[in-house]
Each structure stands twice: as structure tokens, then as C-alpha cells.
């Protein structure tokens, strides 16, 4: 849990070339553009491959422009992707229709197509999110969402989560080390009770901390809103990016829908 947890937290944040044209885009443009690519991909009916391929090409273009390498994309996508694909992996075995033999297995052709299509959509959605995260810092994403009128409370909760995730992960790591230092090595499920107590203790500490943070905020004049230092500026490059994404994908998607 602990060390691995800290490790996976380190595998977040901006990657690639921070000076690239994609990194310099307004966060709002990237949120809308990449969510748009996901939406086009996800809403495409199964086996309309040209649209999915176009989405994949659009994502590749973004990745190349941002100089985010396939290694980074893979290392981040693999955290989420297996969970999503796992759900779809049984479809070829249970779906009826024409059956084909694949070595020891007999699978449904229709099921295979469904699986391939679901897996590609999952990959498009995941890679879009990974690219947003690799080209935009989390605070910028939040700022963008705030300016796009996302509920302030949700944005504030996400901001606190981001800030204190590291603090709590660190506390969890220290408690885990302290358990091991006293010879704690669970061999079966019944001995896992100590982990539960660690979780309770973490929860109580976090609750206490929340009160202290709130008092510290009040001490600095907090009165319900968090004013921002920098305003976001939507430039021509941002418009061009959105027009480019929309121009490449929307006509194709509309054609597919009409056919």
C-alpha cells in the first residue's frame, strides 16, 4: 500500500515539453478539446472503425505536439485501463451468434467486435485524460473548470484532495513503517485488523486536520470564496486547437451517424 502509493503519486503531474504549444494552451481549450475527442469516440456505434481511428490519430497528434512519449502515456494509462477492459473481456465468451475457434476457446464473432470496440473506446477516453494530465497541471485544470462554471464547492473539494493526498499518503506510509518496525507481518486475513485501525486513525487525524486548516483559513480572512491571482486568457491558438479538433472529427462522426 504505502511505498507503492507514494510511487504512483509521483507518476502524476506535467510531462513532455512544458514549452510545447499544447502545454501553453488555455486549460479550458484542452478540457473541452480532449473531452470532445472522448465524446466522439464513445458515442460512435460499434465497428465504425474510421471514426475511432480518427480519434486515435487526433490523440497521437496532440501527444506528438506536446512531446509526451508513448512510455509516459502507457505507464499512466495502465493504472486505469486494465480495470475498464476487464469488464469487456468476457463479452466474446457469452455473446451468441456465429462462433469461431481460437485455439482452445470458442468465441462469438459479434462478441469479439463488441470487445474490440469497447476496448478502443476505453483506450481513447483514458489516453485523452492522460494527455490532459500530462500537459496541464492539476491546479490549472481546476482553474479551467472553475472558469467554466463547474460548481465551486466541487472544485474546492478537488483542490483540497490534491493538496492533502500527499500529506495523507505520507502519514499512511509512516504508520505502515511503524507497524512493520514492531514486527507486523499479516499472514492471513484475520491479522489484517491492524490495517483497519490504521485507516480509522488516518480518518480521525484527517478530520482534526480539516478543522485546523479551516481555522488557519479563517485567520487569513477567508469568507467563503477563494479569489484567484491569475486570470486565464483564451488566445487565438486555443480557438484554432478547438476548431482543428472539431473540424477533423465532427463531420466524420455526423456522416457515420447518418449512414
Amino acid at each position: 500500500m504505502s511505498l507503492g502509493c507514494a510511487h504512483s503519486l509521483n507518476a502524476t503531474g506535467v510531462a513532455g515539453d512544458p514549452a510545447s504549444p499544447v502545454h501553453r494552451l488555455d486549460p479550458r481549450a484542452k478540457i473541452v478539446g480532449l473531452a470532445g475527442i472522448t465524446l466522439v469516440g464513445v458515442s460512435t456505434p460499434p465497428s465504425h472503425w474510421p471514426v475511432l481511428i480518427a480519434c486515435a490519430l487526433a490523440l497521437s497528434a496532440v501527444a506528438v505536439a506536446a512531446r509526451v512519449g508513448p512510455g509516459v502515456v502507457w505507464s499512466r494509462a495502465r493504472v486505469v485501463l486494465p480495470l475498464v477492459v476487464f469488464v469487456a473481456v468476457f463479452v466474446p465468451f457469452v455473446r451468441g451468434g456465429e462462433q469461431i475457434d481460437l485455439g482452445p476457446f470458442t468465441v462469438s464473432r459479434e462478441g469479439l467486435v463488441t470487445f474490440a470496440s469497447v476496448a478502443s473506446k476505453a483506450a481513447i477516453g483514458t489516453v485523452s485524460a492522460v494527455l490532459l494530465g500530462a500537459t496541464t497541471s492539476f491546479p490549472d485544470v481546476l482553474h479551467g473548470l472553475e472558469r467554466m462554471r463547474a460548481p465551486r464547492l466541487l472544485v474546492l473539494i478537488a483542490a483540497f484532495m490534491y493538496r492533502y493526498l500527499f500529506v495523507i499518503a505520507d502519514e499512511a506510509r509512516r504508520m505502515r513503517v511503524a507497524l512493520s518496525a514492531r514486527g507486523y507481518r499479516p499472514r492471513h486475513a484475520l491479522q489484517a485488523a491492524a490495517i483497519g485501525r490504521v485507516a480509522i486513525s488516518l480518518f480521525l487525524r484527517t478530520y482534526d486536520r480539516a478543522e485546523r486548516v479551516y481555522v488557519a483559513m479563517l485567520a487569513r480572512g477567508y469568507s467563503g470564496s477563494t479569489p484567484r491571482l491569475n486570470a486565464l486568457v483564451f488566445r487565438r491558438a486555443d480557438t484554432l486547437f478547438l476548431v482543428g479538433v472539431a473540424g477533423a472529427l465532427v463531420p466524420l462522426r455526423v456522416l457515420v451517424g447518418a449512414s
Partner: protein, 253 residues
């Protein structure tokens, strides 16, 4: 108005019946650096929270010209800067720059004005180079200095620090001490690091069981072994308050 803090018979009782403050009388003048010494549970933090109107007890308390409990709370919080013990409680924004700007923006500063104050405050604590980092990427010593900057950016008349030297390594402690001695403001330092108090403050008060039991020159108080022992305070072994740098400087002058 002659005093920054003027407390008369200040009392506070927590909801569970425990007395936090039991009749505190304290006057602190402009530009003074005063150490508040006392064991855990003496009421040091309770007193600190009163100075900013976060707790209100009975008795009289005026801070920076504002009658606490009746005056303008927003203005009070602008004039009194509290630096809490754990910087992770104080730094909650995603970047250092935004965190330092939080106070000035709450006080109604424009973005340009807030930016200027951020630059100035970070320069005072020598942390300009971390402005765009996230707080969790900094060391404890760095986070504590940034926490001080978040309050300096509000340009307070009174700076209150809760255990500023806690858990710092000797070098970070030394740097913090040097940085704080350069800040020319009225300062209340709540601590049980007695040598730290002696180097930073010319005056000390001892708070014990919610009352001020001693008030005088810091070096005199630290030399009073009976007083320290009676209130669970202790100098590090081998530490001689007579050899303090402050004294040698005074003797040379």
C-alpha cells in the same frame, strides 16, 4: 493608542469545562518581540487564537487598536497574522504563489497588488525560487518559511508565531532565527524552545494554567531556575543563559 496587545482579565473556558485562560493580563508595545513560554496545556495556543478573534472569551482584549469581539473581524485579521505550528495546516492552495496571495486577495487587494505582495513576502523569507512549486514538494523548514510569508503578505501589525522552531534541524532553525530577527514588526513567539526565545525576544512572559505568572527580560526569566522548574520549563543541559549572544552584544554596546 500605545499598545499592540492590551488584555485585562481575559478568561476563556472550553465547552467541556476546561479553563483555557484564567485571567490573563498582558500589554505588548509597538515593535516589541515577546516570547510566550509555558508547558503544553498552559493556554498558549488558546491565547493566540483570541488575538485574531477565532476564540472570544470574557474580559477585555484590544489588539492592534481593535476591540476584539466587538470590532471589525475582517480588519482584525488583516492586522494580526497568525502562523500555525504545522505548515501543512496553513498551506492549502495548490501552489506557493497562490497560497501567499490568498490572504491579500481575501482582504480585497487587486491581482496586481497581490502579486507584488507575494513577491515581497517571498523575498523577505528568501523563498522566491519556490513560488510555483506545490507545498508538498518543499522541506519542512521551507514550508514553515512560506507559511510565514503567507502572513507577511497581509502586512500585519502583529505577527504571532506558534512553535516556529518545532521539528526543525539545527540549520533550518538557525536560518529561521536569522530571518525572523530581520523582520521589523511587533512579534509574539509562542514556544517552549527557550534558547530560541532568548535569541529572538528581549522580553518573555510565562503562561501557566491559563495565567501569566512571570513577565520580564527574557534572560532574567531564563536564569530563574526555580521559576522554570515550577512551570515545567527547562533549559537544555549545559546551556548558560548568561552567555547568550544578545547579552554579549548589549555588553559590547
Amino acid at each position: 493608542m500605545s499598545c499592540v496587545i492590551e488584555a485585562r482579565g481575559l478568561q476563556f473556558r472550553y465547552p467541556n469545562g476546561v479553563a483555557g485562560l484564567d485571567g490573563v493580563d498582558l500589554s505588548v508595545g509597538h515593535g516589541e518581540h515577546v516570547a510566550v513560554l509555558g508547558p503544553n496545556g498552559a493556554g498558549k495556543t488558546t491565547l493566540m487564537l483570541h488575538l485574531n478573534g477565532l476564540l472570544t472569551g470574557e474580559g477585555e482584549l484590544a489588539v492592534a487598536g481593535i476591540d476584539v469581539g466587538r470590532g471589525d473581524v475582517r480588519e482584525l485579521r488583516a492586522r494580526v497574522g497568525l502562523v500555525f505550528q504545522d505548515p501543512d495546516d496553513q498551506l492549502f492552495m495548490p501552489t506557493v504563489r497562490e497560497d501567499v496571495a490568498f490572504g491579500p486577495l481575501n482582504l480585497g487587494a487587486s491581482a496586481a497588488e497581490a502579486s507584488a505582495r507575494v513577491t515581497e513576502a517571498l523575498a523577505t523569507v528568501r523563498m522566491e525560487h519556490v513560488a510555483d512549486r506545490a507545498p508538498h514538494q518543499l522541506s519542512l523548514g521551507q514550508r514553515r518559511r512560506v507559511a510565514i510569508a503567507t502572513v507577511l503578505a497581509m502586512d500585519p501589525r502583529l505577527l504571532v508565531l506558534d512553535e516556529p522552531s518545532a521539528s526543525l534541524d539545527p540549520r533550518a532553525r538557525r536560518e529561521l532565527l536569522e530571518m525572523l530577527s530581520r523582520i521589523d514588526r511587533t512579534m509574539l513567539v509562542v514556544t517552549h524552545d527557550l534558547p530560541f526565545a532568548a535569541e529572538l525576544c528581549e522580553r518573555a512572559v510565562v503562561l501557566s494554567a491559563g495565567r501569566i505568572v512571570a513577565d520580564g527580560r527574557c534572560t532574567d526569566i531564563l536564569r530563574d531556575e526555580d521559576l522554570l522548574a515550577a512551570h515545567d520549563l527547562e533549559l537544555p543541559a549545559g546551556f548558560d543563559p548568561a552567555l547568550l549572544r544578545r547579552q554579549t552584544v548589549a555588553a559590547a554596546a
